[in-house]
Amino acid sequence: MGSIARIEVKDANPVAALQGFCARLLADGEISAVLAPRRLPGNGGTMPALVADPAELRDVDPLAPSFRLNAARMLTRLTRGTDEGGLVAALLRPCEVRAFIELCKLNQGSLENTLLVSMDCPGAFTNVDSARFSGNRGDLDALLGFLRADGRGAFDGVEVARACRTCEHATGAEADLTIGLFGQDVENGLLLMANTPRGEGFITRLGLPEASDDGSRGSALEALLAERRATQEKLFAETTAATSDMTKLSTFLSACVNCYNCRAACPVCYCKECVFLTDVFEHRPWQYLSWARQRGALKMPTDTVFFHLTRLAHMSTACVGCGQCSNACPNDVPVMELFKTIAASTQKAFEYEAGRDPGEAPPLSVFREREFPELTGGLD
Amino acid sequence: MKNTHKPIAFVPAPLVFQDETLVEVQNMVRACMQCGTCTASCPNAFAMDLTPRQMWRMLLFGLKQEVLQSRTFWLCSACYSCTLRCPRDLPLTAAMAALKRMAAAEGDSANRKKALFYQEFMHNVEQNGRIQEMGFMCHYFLAMHDPLLPMEYGPLGLKLLAKGKLHLGGSGQRGRLGPLFAKVRSMEGAS
């Protein structure tokens, strides 16, 4: 672990402290803008905003438990190709960082043009719940209460989104800098840890006071991860049971209306246009009629299970489990549960973890002469 | 008798081409590629101290004395199977015979002693027109100056006698092959 610094929190307002931190980043000549969650006027919750003028930082609230969309794709558009516009600092949740790393492996963005700042992610409420949580609308006490829960935050019985409750990548260690929240007295100070050489450079440049991790963060994190892994196992078991054969799978996906929202929200589905929207799947009338005659009846629109299975084949090895697919689904199809379960097994099969290491090539872009002999019965 | 040849160290003679008799034999086996077929096909190889292949090797290295000390070429009973199978078409059996001649001419007393058997045999055939075993044995034992030798051959002789293989004496063919031997001597003289 790189060097650790401390962000001072004055009058028990960590949000203001982080706004100050962003201002110091902007003050540094190299960073031209900060991409950070900014509170929306009115209905509460935050949306990513590209802030160039430090004055506009006042509404930035990275700690608010609102996660309307995965900002990874935004960041790829800011960092594509050669370094034109100078460095962009991005305050992202761990799943957003890992999604961005996966996209960089596919030449969609580049790690050189950005400073990734992540944090101990306490989780976030679903879009519906986050609108009702006062903490998202500037109620500092509610927010502090949420943060003190170290990732188990809830308000009047409503817990954080299921994706967050089953997420075991809560620390954002893949980013350049990580803001330490778990086990900290958030009213007085936050930790800032550097994970990469670039992070080290910024810490020294920012001149924040030295700090040391007294292990409280580690133990809090350990406890949280143990809990989350348990809920994750439960989720996997539940989903596997719910989709153990094709009939169950079709009922599992029966509410799907092929609106492909889950694909639009998914950060690692990088295609400009999904193949299911291209002319490949514009079937002729006689095709529909012959399928219908063959089966007796045909649910319309077709290619629903086909779409989900193909999407699983395309991106299950890159899924970071951010939960935005379920978030975006208008008909509450438990897409996140299905994709997180399958992603776990495919990534284990290829000993690959999405977003873990920018240098690790995605499984289907690398081929070796001798592997998986069991597939062909040992035939060489 | 197992191959008891003990490893020797030697420095190959610098100019190997002065000694004509050696050169004559060397030229017969110079193209040997050490494939080992001769050793493998020789029925008497089990009894030889130097395998034929090693002998050709030493010959080419010019180790004349070591070759003459070995028993290998004496044990060759000219069955020609090595010559038949040599992939380089070398006259191996002729080379063995040449070595016998060389050993008889230049070899030390032991070699000359071994040559005695052949000389007496030929002498007996020349005189009697055929081999007279009794006469031949007497001359041979006399020439060997070794009183114990007849005792060794005793039991063998009795068995041969029982089978009527020993021709006791007197034959109508005396001197009949004289002109043949004379012709051969004149030819050898000329070659």
């Binding site: 006689w286 089966r295 045909l298 081929f367 | -």
Partner: protein, 156 residues
């Protein structure tokens, strides 16, 4: 009236007492396996009639969505057969196929599609008997495994 269905019996009740005949789609590479298939065909090694060969230029071209499409479209099993590693006319097409089938073998069996319904194998150009044996044993295995349950699903 254009009509893809070509068997009038398709709607009617199946012939009484007719045993289950599996429908198998085989993606075969144009070079080695197709030659073996021709060899098996011309030298009369009896093959089960319900295997349909789809000729691809190389197994490296078999996209996972074709295999999913076949299985959802009512195929009881999918066979992918290409050249032995090292024989590939395009150098390394078969290595790619192996990884893609490995990926599908991790996904589809979790939804009740038996992993034996997807088979990847290498067949050389002169292995006509090998190809026939593979196809016959695969068809028998699937016949005993029974029809795939996606055929009745209205949901494609």
């Amino acid at each position: 009236m254009q009509e893809l269905i070509v068997t009038p019996e398709a709607q009617g009740e199946p012939m009484p007492g007719a045993a289950f005949e599996p429908a198998i789609v085989a993606f075969v590479c144009n070079w080695c396996t197709y030659t073996a298939a021709d060899l098996a065909g011309t030298s009369r090694m009896v093959q089960s009639p319900n295997v349909r060969l789809v000729r691809m230029m190389c197994t490296g071209m078999v996209d996972p969505k074709y295999i999913i499409k076949a299985l959802l479209g009512g195929a009881d099993a999918v066979l992918i057969s290409g050249c032995h590693p090292g024989d590939c006319h395009y150098i390394n097409g078969n290595y790619k196929a192996r990884r893609r089938v490995k990926l599908l073998m991790e996904i589809l069996p979790r939804f009740g599609i038996d992993s034996r319904r997807i088979k990847l194998t290498w067949v050389g150009a002169s292995e006509g008997n090998e190809f026939a044996a593979t196809v016959n044993s695969f068809a028998a295995e699937i016949k005993e495994l029974g029809p795939i349950d996606t055929r009745r699903l209205p949901l494609l």
